[in-house]
Amino acid sequence: MALSPEEVNHVAMLARLALSEDEKTAFAEQLSLILDYVERLNELDTGEVEPLIHILPVFNVLRPDEALPGSSQEEILSNAPLVEDGQYKVPRII
């Protein structure tokens, strides 16, 4: 299943990736191979099989509504490239 250049552009846009023309060609080919591989699953007859939502037969994992201290402001911001007034500083996005 060959991926069209438009599809590659669309996926790249959603992932906020700037790709060169060469990269686009290369990824189109690689992504197509991956899709073909996954496509093999469709060869199986799954008509009688329940869709799998979760790997483990576990339900209703809940915790009580209790507020506990988290990280400090300093800790939480320690990896941020830019900080101002106790906040992450990011390029303006509208």
């Binding site: 846009m13 990011v90 303006r92």
Partner: protein, 480 residues
């Protein structure tokens, strides 16, 4: 709005759930804390940190489902909604996609006595995003600041069907939904603080046409008024575009409160691809019928039931009952006054006129107001026993509202006691009548208006403290 067009409106409402801790981690949800002080590795989107659902969030979601007449499926799950934005550190929002906790409900709005049912498509649980603060002018600043305190607070997104046909109906729906959520104890619903947020989907179509027109989504509606105005503006814009033969784009727009117009934010063509998939970190939920019944049994009184109670028990008009049941605090105030002072219509009148007037003027919630229900009851008793007149009571009320003092205290301080003593009033009336023989004659010759002159003079002489009923009675006798 041109008559040949019909506006079609659906609302998406986000209600912040009233919990102590966030939906998937134990960080506090308290409003107004230092930025980024209620954050942990999970809600800051650090790799490897895992979510665990807050049981209270599920309970409040089920409660909402019951209050909104929804089906609550036995099974639901969480999905990831993928998009990039700086207020969403994980680059996905945990939400519910195809199997929400509540679906197919409705609520009823009252349009001047006509009841209209607005269907609710679904309500689902999800996490809130962080807060972006733009530095200076949003169009020129190079930077934004991110506060993640709000990120991960539990939300319920409630999606209506496109069943509303005017700004007024949309407002009535939002007001009713707010009342229900407040009574159900699900959310604080403070639009100013953002704990209740509303987006509107709007389209117009020629009257009689089945097919829906091109839809736009309006964001940033922070008050009932902006909801109404934005819908009116947007519907007009659509009609004008159609009439001018222009093409309408399906897009997201923002309401500009200052300029009173909507502006394009982004086109839906590219953006609307969230690549939802089940969140592998959260096991699905099974909600037993017993659990739903248990929550149903503990449900507080809801607005419709409360309204009916006021009409049935106290014979109040529906109009009064609807206003008294706007919020649980307002209803509680009424219920507390009525325990001491049983004339419901009098209580309702005072609450809808004076109390509302002062609450609006001072921008106070009824729960924060100094005037307590028991004190209002006491004041009403003072009117009944003739200590103060209805007119004096308005002055007393204002003072009670501002200071929290009791009516007897205010009356005493201001020397406002009403004069009902017939002997004292007779003497005053006597001298006024004797001093105005001409007017007396006019009155006796059939000039009814002259009576008012005497009442006015008595009031003036007593600085408004004469009991009007007694004055009327004595004057009539005297002038016979």
């Amino acid at each position: 709005m041109s008559k040949e067009f019909e506006t079609v409106i659906g609302l998406e409402v986000h209600a912040e759930l009233k919990t102590e801790s966030k939906i998937f981690c134990s960080c506090s949800t308290a409003f107004g804390a230092e930025p980024n002080s209620q954050v942990c590795p999970f809600c800051a989107g650090f790799p490897g940190a895992l979510p665990v659902l807050n049981e209270k969030v599920l309970e409040l979601a089920i409660r909402t489902g019951i209050a909104l007449n929804c089906e609550i499926p036995e099974y639901c799950k969480f999905d990831r909604k993928n998009y990039f934005y700086p207020d969403l550190p994980a680059a996905y929002q945990i939400s519910q996609f195809d199997q929400p906790v509540c679906k197919n409900g409705y609520l009823e709005i009252d349009l001047d006595g006509e009841i209209k049912r607005i269907r609710i498509n679904r309500a689902h649980m999800e996490e809130d995003a962080g807060k972006l603060v733009h530095q200076g002018d949003i169009t020129t600043t190079p930077f934004s600041l991110v506060d993640l305190n709000r990120c991960g607070i539990g939300l319920l997104e409630i999606v209506s069907e496109p069943d509303m046909r005017s700004a007024r109906e949309a407002r009535a729906y939002l007001e009713k939904l707010r009342s229900i959520l407040l009574f159900a104890g699900v959310s604080d619903c403070k639009m100013q603080e953002g704990s209740l947020r509303c987006d509107a989907n709007i389209s117009v179509r020629p009257a009689g046409q089945e097919e829906l027109g091109t839809r736009t989504e309006i964001k940033n509606l922070n008050s009932f008024r902006s909801l109404e105005r934005a819908i009116e503006y947007e519907a007009r814009r659509h009609v004008e575009a159609i009439e001018d033969g222009e093409e309408l784009l399906q897009e997201t727009r923002t309401w500009d409160e200052e300029k009173q117009l909507t502006r394009s934010m982004r086109s839906k063509e590219e953006a609307d691809d969230y690549r939802y998939f089940p969140d592998p970190d959260l096991p699905p939920l099974r909600i037993s019928r017993e659990r739903i019944e248990e929550i149903r049994r503990q449900m507080p009184e809801l607005p419709d039931a409360a309204q009916e109670r006021l009409v049935e028990t106290y014979g109040l008009p529906h109009y009064d009952a609807a206003i008294l049941t706007t919020t649980p605090d307002y209803l509680e105030f009424f219920d507390r006054v009525i325990k001491i002072y049983p004339d419901a219509k009098v209580v309702s009148n005072w609450m809808m006129s004076e109390l509302n007037k002062y609450l609006n003027q001072s921008n106070l919630e009824i729960s924060d107001c100094l005037l307590k229900p028991e004190k209002l009851a006491e004041m009403l008793q003072l009117i009944d026993d003739g200590t103060i007149s209805g007119k004096m009571a308005k002055t007393v009320f204002a003072e009670m509202f501002n200071s929290g003092k009791s009516a007897p205290e205010v009356v005493k301080e201001k020397g406002m006691v009403q004069i009902s003593d017939e002997k004292a009033l007779s003497a005053i009336i006597e001298s006024i009548v004797n001093g105005n023989p001409k007017v007396v004659e006019d009155y006796r010759n059939g000039k009814e208006k002259a009576f008012g002159f005497f009442v006015g003079q008595v009031m003036k002489a007593t600085r408004g403290q004469a009991n009007p009923a007694v004055v009327n009675k004595l004057l009539k006798e005297k002038l016979k």
